[in-house]
Symmetry: C2
Subunit: 345 residues, 2 copies
């Protein structure tokens, strides 16, 4: 492992914010993006940490995101809040709409945030964790771009379509899971390719639609959904609920729109929030305490709850700072000095 | 294959209704149960067809269901409708609340039906299909009784926790999926046991929490969730949303309450409905037509959509009647003649 140096969460946020600001991104958007990216890094969720900055700058340099988009809230007074991201990044749209979504969930018992026309590059756990920390159950999902074949199919159609869920707990952290509905992330296959190692069966098919263990062939073909036809059905549900139902792009259109798979996709996102107090009303039971019984039973079996490693990493980062390698600091410095000029298309 | 004789859907419904009525079940409940059971048989979904009658009679004979329960609707005026099943079967609760749920979804854009204190023995697809046929997207889920270990765990805690989803299509049938979140149904393991065949790896663990391919050991141990930790997370979500959040039993309590795994469990159920017209408002796109693009692309790859076999079987049943074996007719006749006396505890 390479040597690391520590940086405080606050300092890293300031640094990442500056990178985005000098790259032409609206200040509020830059700050919102920095918060979610640094949250990923803080939680040692490296795939959604500072690694993401380059992708954001690339899509910006390619002119495929609106850097000064200001989210607009369309509240019709009912449980559904629409937030138009205006072709900008999703983070400020979520931040701007969050309080109203929470209000709606508490008032109506349930609420939905529809984010329109956004680039959603960050982890969904960030959103559901924010809501669950306010005592709500939350479900978040979005399409991505076609890279996954439906079970029984032959070519990429579905996205990696992540879904995340959060449920409040009495302690410091809510119950949170967040995963792609593909067997693995595309990056895993890329890592096997670089290492010259075959991928396990069941991860992908080649461009002829045949099962393959060759990472090159897999990258030219399509990934497979997790859990065979069940995972494929869930991925399809995400396309329908967070794409078609919103009148936003599904993964196939998102891929066509950006013209490839190397830029961040543009589409919508759906976030649902539920108030357990309203749903349990009249039962005489405490929905959070009941949930805790289950979660403790899972832990009592020695099974790990999702996000526990993230929370442990967070605790460490909060105490001592975030450990970054010299190469990571160099990358940040380069971005901070050169902005968009630091990235290739 | 044994010889079969045909019976019309209407005649079979009348026969099953009579069986439940002479067994002491309230007429409206008997009719609602017959409709969902015959719908299963009609669709050649045998595991939710007339095979289910015996389980209903057994739980009735054991005094573990309230045969004359009348569902009561508790409508607070918001998007959430609570239906108290009063310890009775879930079908009449769903039927009584369905129209109001549809109204709520259309009015608010989204609605929820909370069914309290019910025995849910039927397929969830029945519910989501009814809602999707009315132009709504629908999601239904419920706990069951502990028979599945969480991923990384050692003993049964989660239920087989089914979830079903429906989305409207322009043609005859909506998009519908419905599956248990265990790798397989418990009945599959039982079939392997009877055939003296080992079960595949990954289906179950034994009572020591170790992987097993022995069906006996598996039945004494616990099943595993589909899709490893992802399926386990979804199953946990169902416990939380359709159990804890409602203030209703989760699978562990349901098992303790009935004192075993051979009777139908008593718990709650959650049905969510979404109006695509409200969610897509202002997008200028048709959410059903957009969904159709995806679904046709899936079919165009040669992948089967879920429920297509059911719909094909339904079409045949509607044209020619439902084919039952002599043994099945005998069973129905015995139930019709003897009622509860025909079943053992």
């Amino acid at each position: 492992m390479s040597e690391t140096r520590l940086i405080t969460i606050r300092d890293l946020e300031a640094k990442v914010t500056r990178i985005f600001e000098i790259s032409g991104i609206r200040a509020e958007t830059a700050a919102a993006m920095a918060r979610v990216i640094v949250a990923g890094e803080r939680d040692n969720c490296k795939s959604h940490g500072i690694y993401r900055i380059e992708g954001c700058l690339r899509v910006l340099r390619a002119g495929k995101v609106v850097p000064d988009a200001v989210p607009t809230l369309n509240d019709t007074g009912g449980p559904i809040l629409q937030v138009h991201a205006g072709g900008g990044f999703a983070c400020p749209a979520f931040e701007d709409g969050k309080d109203l979504l929470i209000d709606k969930a508490r008032r109506f018992g349930m609420g939905a945030m529809v984010i329109r026309d956004c680039l959603h590059f960050s982890a969904l756990w960030y959103e559901v964790e924010e809501l669950a920390s306010q005592g709500l159950a939350a479900l978040s999902m979005c399409p991505s771009y076609s890279s996954v074949a439906p079970a029984g199919g032959t070519t990429a159609l579905l996205g990696t379509n992540p879904m995340a869920f959060g449920y409040p707990r009495p302690g410091d952290h809510p119950y949170v899971f967040d995963f792609a509905t593909s067997v693995v992330a595309r990056g895993e296959i890329e890592l096997h390719r670089r290492a010259g190692k075959p991928i396990p069966e069941g991860w992908a098919i080649d461009s002829e639609g045949q099962p393959t263990t060759d990472p090159e062939a897999a990258l030219a073909g399509a990934m497979l959904p997790f859990g065979a036809h069940k995972g494929s059905a869930i991925s399809t549900m995400i396309e329908l609920l967070a794409g078609a139902m919103l009148g936003e792009f599904m993964s196939a259109e998102a891929r066509d729109f950006i013209g490839g798979t190397t830029f961040l996709p543009r589409h919508g996102a759906l976030i649902l929030a539920f108030d357990p107090d309203k749903f349990s009303a009249g039962s005489g039971r405490d929905p959070v305490a009941e949930g805790e019984t289950l979660l403790r039973s899972i832990e009592g079996q020695g099974a790990r709850l999702p996000s526990q490693r993230r929370f442990a990493a967070r605790s460490l980062s909060e105490q001592q700072g975030i450990a970054l390698t010299a190469a990571e600091f160099e990358m940040l410095d380069r971005f901070e000095a050169q902005g968009l000029a630091a990235v290739d298309l």
